[in-house]
Structures are given as structure tokens and as C-alpha cells.
């Protein structure tokens, strides 16, 4: 700690605080304000304060899309996380196996998706999923004949699976790195001791590896849950939130951020209800902030870790 004059402290802090007030704080406060009005495209000149009406409509109205979209998003988060953990764990175990030849080579290859710019790879994956010319269906035709074709992005369930696959492709290297780091810090004597005590490979994994890796996994998992929950780019670039089955229901991959975006900028929306969407945003923010506090409460350093992961969200 340095003892300095108050003036100095203010001078050091000022640029950051001013900038943050304008571009961080003001937009949030303004969104909060909007969420209590009936502001929409059609009444942008004479909108008025309506209290918590938007929130009531969002949370308690029967035709509100909030809960369907939220469940859909949570399902996506859970499915993705399970896949991340399984694929990340298996790859890390394989890369930690001293009997495997050429480990540095495998490591570079398996971590390659991490280095790729995610926006571009999302568009590449969209190409791979294409029905007629996409290589995935072309491979299928090699085995199952010309009429074969999986409607990857046209069928709701398949589109959901497709965006899970892409997210797994993008995110498993992060888990591989985190788990591999934890595995390499397990002292070799433990393996020896477990072997002498007669533990089989599964028992060793279950009772030695897993408990020792978990502390490193929890922050990574929370962080990934948060980033997947608010995922926009990758999914939007592939499906735009579709496919839409009925005009009344959100699309199968219309997760929270995409839903919000489509309700404001979507081509089919004539009269965006900014006030209502602001209430949606604020509710989501409350959820995200709660998750972040939960994460930091677990003794983790989410902001730094998120930087570590950031390059690829």
C-alpha cells in the first residue's frame, strides 16, 4: 500500500471511472429504466412509465416465451457441459498416458480447435452441415447411397445436436488443458501406492484421479456454463436460432441471447418492444450476476480464467 494524496488517487482513477460510467454503467441503467416503460418502435414518441408490468408479463404471463427459452438454454448448457467434461477428461487422460508415443504431436493436434477464431469456424461448420453439398452428408452417401441425407439444420432436434457438436469442438480443448494440468500435478507415488493396495484402473480413476481433479474442474465448469448460457455468436452464425416450427414458439436453438437479439433486430419483427426486451435483459443479467458471485464464492478467479478462455468465445 502506498500513501498518497487523495488528489493523486482521483487522478489515477478518473479516466477509467469516467469511461466506465459512460459505456458500462449508463447502458445498464438505461436498460433498467427502459424495462419499466412501454417503449416500442410504434410509440417511441409517447411511451410512459408502467412500473413492473413488463416483468409481470415476462414471468407470469402464460404466453411468455421466457421459461421455454430459459429451459431450452439450460438444456443446452447441461448437454454441452456433460460433453465437455467427458471429451475433455478422455483426451486429458490419453495425453497424460506416458506409454503413448509422440505426446507433443497429439497435444498440438487436439488443442488446435482452441486456436481457431470461433466466428470463422462456426461459419465453416455451417458449411459442413449443409444438406446437399456439405461433406457430412456426402460421407453418409458413400455408405448409405445417394438418397441419404441428414437434415442437420432443418430439423429442430438435429439443429440442437449440431450446435452442441460445434460447441464441443470449440470448447473441449479448454477442459483438456485444465484437466491435464491437474493430472500432471498428481504425484506419481499415489499411483504406485494405489497399485500396491490393489486398486484397478477404474478404482484408481474413481478414488484418486477424480477427487484430485475436481477442484480444478469446478471453476472451469462454472465458467463454461456461464459462457455457454450467454452464447450468441457460434449458434447464431449457424442457425440464426432456427429452425422455427411455428410462428408462436421460439426456434429450437433460440437461446436467451439469440431470442433477445431476434426480438429486436429480427427480420420478422415489425414492432420491437424495447421495454419488454429490456426487462428480459435485466432478468438475465440478474441470473448471470448471481452465477458469477456463486463462482467467485467458490474461491475461484473467474475473471482471469475467463480471459484464459476468452480468446475463443
Amino acid at each position: 500500500m502506498l500513501r498518497v494524496k487523495r488528489r493523486t488517487i482521483v487522478a489515477f482513477l478518473l479516466p477509467m471511472l469516467v469511461m466506465m460510467a459512460v459505456i458500462n454503467l449508463w447502458p445498464i441503467l438505461y436498460t433498467l429504466y427502459l424495462s419499466t416503460t412501454n417503449y416500442s418502435e410504434f410509440n417511441s414518441d409517447n411511451y410512459r412509465f408502467i412500473g413492473l408490468e413488463n416483468y409481470r408479463q415476462l414471468l407470469f404471463s402464460l404466453d411468455s416465451d421466457f421459461f421455454p427459452v430459459l429451459w431450452q438454454t439450460l438444456l443446452y448448457v447441461v448437454v454441452c457441459l456433460v460433453c465437455f467434461l467427458i471429451v475433455g477428461m478422455l483426451t486429458a487422460l490419453a495425453l497424460n498416458n506416458p506409454r503413448i508415443k509422440g505426446l507433443p504431436f497429439w497435444r498440438v493436434i487436439l488443442l488446435l480447435p482452441w486456436a481457431a477464431p470461433s466466428g470463422i469456424t462456426a461459419l465453416i461448420w455451417k458449411f459442413l452441415f449443409q444438406y446437399d453439398f456439405g461433406p457430412l452428408n456426402q460421407i453418409g452417401r458413400l455408405f448409405f447411397g445417394q438418397q441419404f441425407g441428414i437434415p442437420w439444420l432443418l430439423n429442430p432436434t438435429l439443429a440442437f445436436i449440431a450446435v452442441v457438436i460445434v460447441n464441443v469442438w470449440l470448447s473441449y480443448p479448454f477442459f483438456t488443458v485444465v484437466i491435464l494440468g491437474a493430472l500432471q500435478s498428481i504425484p506419481g507415488e499415489l499411483r504406485e501406492a494405489a497399485r500396491i493396495d490393489g486398486a484397478g484402473p477404474w478404482q484408481y480413476f474413481r478414488h484418486v484421479t477424480l477427487p484430485l481433479v475436481t477442484p480444478a474442474l469446478i471453476p472451469a465448469a462454472i465458467l463454461s456454463a456461464i459462457t455457454t448460457f450467454q452464447m450468441f455468436n457460434t449458434v447464431f452464425l449457424i442457425t440464426q436460432g432456427g429452425p422455427v416450427v411455428s410462428a408462436l414458439k421460439p426456434g429450437a436453438t433460440e437461446f436467451v441471447m439469440i431470442y433477445m437479439y431476434n426480438r429486436i433486430l429480427g427480420a420478422s419483427v415489425a414492432n420491437p418492444h424495447y421495454g419488454f426486451i429490456a426487462a428480459f435483459s435485466i432478468t438475465l443479467f440478474a441470473l448471470l450476476a448471481a452465477l458469477t458471485y456463486l463462482g467467485s464464492g467458490l474461491g475461484t478467479r473467474l475473471p482471469e480464467l475467463s480471459g484464459f478462455r476468452e480468446a475463443r468465445t
Binding site: F12, M16, P117, I139, R141, M257
Partner: protein, 314 residues
Amino acid sequence: MSQKLPTAALEKQPAAFRTPARERAKRLQGRRAVAGLGTRLGLVGVYAFLVVMTIFALFPFYYVVQASFAGAQNLYTTDLHLFPAHFTFANYLTAFTQEPLLNWIGNTLLVCGLTALCGLVCSTSGAYALARFRFAGRELTLRALLTLQAFPGLLALTAYYLLLNALHLLNNLLGLVLIYSAGAIVFCCWNTKTYLDALPIELEQAALVDGATPFQAFWHIVLPLATPALAVAALFTFMTGWNEFALANLVLNANANGSNLTFILGLYSLQSDFRTPWGIFAAASVIVSLPLMVIFFFAQRYFRSGLAQGGLAN
């Protein structure tokens, strides 16, 4: 193999002990043989898994690279082509000559570069104050930073639109820089602050005792020492900008030939064409991804050490 040793030792046991010991050794050997077979099978399994994962990890890269060298007859077909039948550079030429690829790259470099710069300039002195000074409201600021970190800019879409409209920065790259800076400042501040927390304070104290002003201590002592953390923060900010689509799409409206877009918007507009020019798309993707991936791989170690010192290590 060391496994043979115990059995050999057992043979030398006196006769009286031999039977049970031998029995035990035999059973042990049998179990070991099974385990050995299991390990070998397991090893084959691990290799098989690695090969499958390699295909999964590399296929998108491979396919897009070969597609960038293939002619249209290879791409608009329902049959699989894993090698270009007629190797051609035409897609690369077209990407550079007919599409405003260089403009997109230039715009993206400008936006990301300015965002990183703005993030660092606005946050570094603040991060220093949070790390080194104690004052009323410090805890509150830290807590606010943590909360803001959880706020994706996308949530304030309407507010940002109105803000840029008021500042006459809509459809302007600087408007995009301003919005991106919101996230950049928070991230840069937090990363730098944790890095400085771990940096010894004695040098600055000595400088102050010798009559330096706090600003001189910050400028001449702390900034040079904090370079790794600043570089990491800048790189992350830079790379986040490369991939951002939603806010860019909000701020920028394509002009007649789309030369005012950022790279990801341009690539997206290529794909949403009525007849997607896959070959050109593939060539454009390769041109931009390759340098980024090379940078990432060379910077990776540096990344990790910069962040580790910034508090990631546990």
C-alpha cells in the same frame, strides 16, 4: 521385465513353502498376464480414441483448406471430394480482387487495435490505483467490476444503439470501438490489477522516498514491469473483437459493395448470398485464420505465463 523377478525368487524358497507360494505366484502371474493384455488392449483403445479425436479436430480445417484450392465442380456436388480434382488458386485471386477482403481485414484490424489500445489506456492507471492505494469506495469499485464482468454488452443492445445515435457514431467503426471498449476496460483492469497485486511494492516505495511523484513511479517503474500482463490483456481484447458478430451487425450497415464491414460480417454476408460462393468463402477463411492461429500458437506459452502471474495459477 521386472514382473519376472518375484517368480524367480520364489523358486528358491524351501520345499515346505513351495506349493502355496508357487500357487500364489502362478495366480499372480495369470492375473498379470490378463492385466498386461488389458493394458495392451487399452493402449490400442487409447490410440484409436486419439485417431478419432484427431479426425474430429482436424476435419473442418482440412476440408476448408482443400475446398479453397478446389474448383466449383468439386464443391457443388452431392459426392464427397476430399482432394481438389483441379488444383487452382482462382478462389484466392477472386477473394482479393472481387470481394472487399482487404477492406474487411483493414477494418477489423483498426477496430480491434483501437479497442485494445482504448482498453489499456483507460484501465491501466485505474488498475494501479486499485492495486496500490487504499481509499473509500475501493471495495465497491472491485465489486462493481466483478458484476460488470458478468454483463454481456449484448444485453444493452437498445441502450447502445441510442447512445451511438446520440453521438452520431452509428455505422462508424469508432462506434464499434466504443462499445467493444466497455468489455475491454473491465477485463484489462481486472487482469492488470491482479498482476500488480503480485508485483513487489518496494521499488515504488523506494522511488517515492527518493522524491519521485506517484505518477513517475507508475510510468517509469510499474509500466515496464507490467508489460507481460498488458500484452496479454491487449491480445485477448484483440482476439475477442475478431469474432464478435452481434454488436458489429447492429452498428454497421453494409454499403453497396460491403467494403465498410468487419471481417466476420463480410464472411457472413458471403455465406448468405443466394448462391454461396463456397470456394471464395473457404479461401477468405484460410487467409484470416492462418495468421491468427500461428500467433495463438506462438503466444500460447506467453499467454499462460502472463495470466498465471496475473493470478490464474493455483
